[in-house]
Symmetry: C2
Subunit: 236 residues, 2 copies
Amino acid sequence: MYRYPVTSRILLAIDCIIFGFDGKDIKLLLVKRNLEPEMGKWSLMGGFLREDEDLEVGAGRIIYDLTGLKNIYVEQLETFGKVKRDPAERTVSVVFFALIQIEEHDSEAVKSHNASWISLDQLPGLIFDHDDMVSRAIEHLRYKAALHPIGFELLPELFTIPQLQKLYEAIYNTPLDRRNFSRKLLSTGLLIDTGCKNSNSTTKKATLYKLDTIRYKEKFHAFWNFMPDSMKPVKI
Amino acid sequence: MYRYPVTSRILLAIDCIIFGFDGKDIKLLLVKRNLEPEMGKWSLMGGFLREDEDLEVGAGRIIYDLTGLKNIYVEQLETFGKVKRDPAERTVSVVFFALIQIEEHDSEAVKSHNASWISLDQLPGLIFDHDDMVSRAIEHLRYKAALHPIGFELLPELFTIPQLQKLYEAIYNTPLDRRNFSRKLLSTGLLIDTGCKNSNSTTKKATLYKLDTIRYKEKFHAFWNFMPDSMKPVKI
DNA sequence: TATTTATAGTGTATATGTGACACAATTAAA
DNA sequence: TTTAATTGTGTCACATATACACTATAAATA
């Protein structure tokens, strides 16, 4: 078989930005790096692409390894390839963006990888260009959440409207009007009233909804302009 | 210096999707491939990433080589990495998305590369997964043009509102109402009336505008919801 | 048992933006 | 000078967004 007459072949890494929401804060799953260089410092969860592996498969493997979860929301974000980004050797990193339901993760696996959930406002400095990757991912989260109903990916299967509101307030770091938020959300037709009530609450119990997964797919592009203009994503 | 103990290093390609607009149709700059495999077939313009080269620099080099243009609108689109995407050898391709002013390109350079401008509705089948790359790029163009004022990148420095309208009609493949289009455009405050008139027209001459580049940067995120909902990007 | 406190749920008036549509103005060719 | 093609501007009805106030529920407490 023909092989290209080009000398330089490059190491390909995959790094994963894994978002979760604990009901109050948006969090990232970060690990203490267990290999040189920069061993012991905080970084994104990553790994090297295998020869027999598609990119998304590699990302799925890395995420499964750390969280025990499959079939979650993952998209490719951007590829970082500055010549000097990794001091050891030239490495190009394809960065993936994942949203998970934080309750579902396998805490044993997380512990064994020396990983932790860390709030966005308490992020430590990360190795290499991982800070840039995170900035880009937060920008993308804000962008995408204003246009498409991806917020649900961060919530449990059953959720209340106040929970959803707290999520959006966390994403955009801004208070929202309860009444307008509720009306706008319900008008999307994406929520199904389960009839049940939230039992956690100490006062009036909120209605539990679930996502209408059929309409979710239909309406994935019809969620535009969900956030007010003043909240439109701006680089941070 | 430390080097990672991983065996597989991979060939990294860059492919560029270059859009132009001739006043009537959106066009892509495609080349007849001059190396094996698939020599002689249509493909995107591409090349291999050099060892000493950042990704964007590589993309800039490839685009400059073909068009003679620098400082144009380029963004990274997506990285394609299916194991079998290139039959010769595993190659991961980082795809870039470029918008150029079609009048400005160096037609000698284009000719010497066996390249042609081809309308979106007359695209030939392309090699490998380049068709997928193009689909993704068209989707991205529609998405982005509805949210950000990038259409200007495809027009000459001086342009008329009817020209701009034809551009958006071409992007979304739909007729738009002249009056509403004009009102919406002017309300962005991005256009500066040059006082001049278009001389090409055979009937009433349209006013020539130029882009307010300062407001362009300020308003890059404030262009949301520009297209009607019915035109929101849908996968093709 | 009544009251208090915290949170959830619904309604309305006003302003703003959008889409549909009609008419006047300009230019060159017939 | 009439005609045909294209550009520029105005208006009305309707939908949507925002700001804001009141009612309902549940648990703790007086």
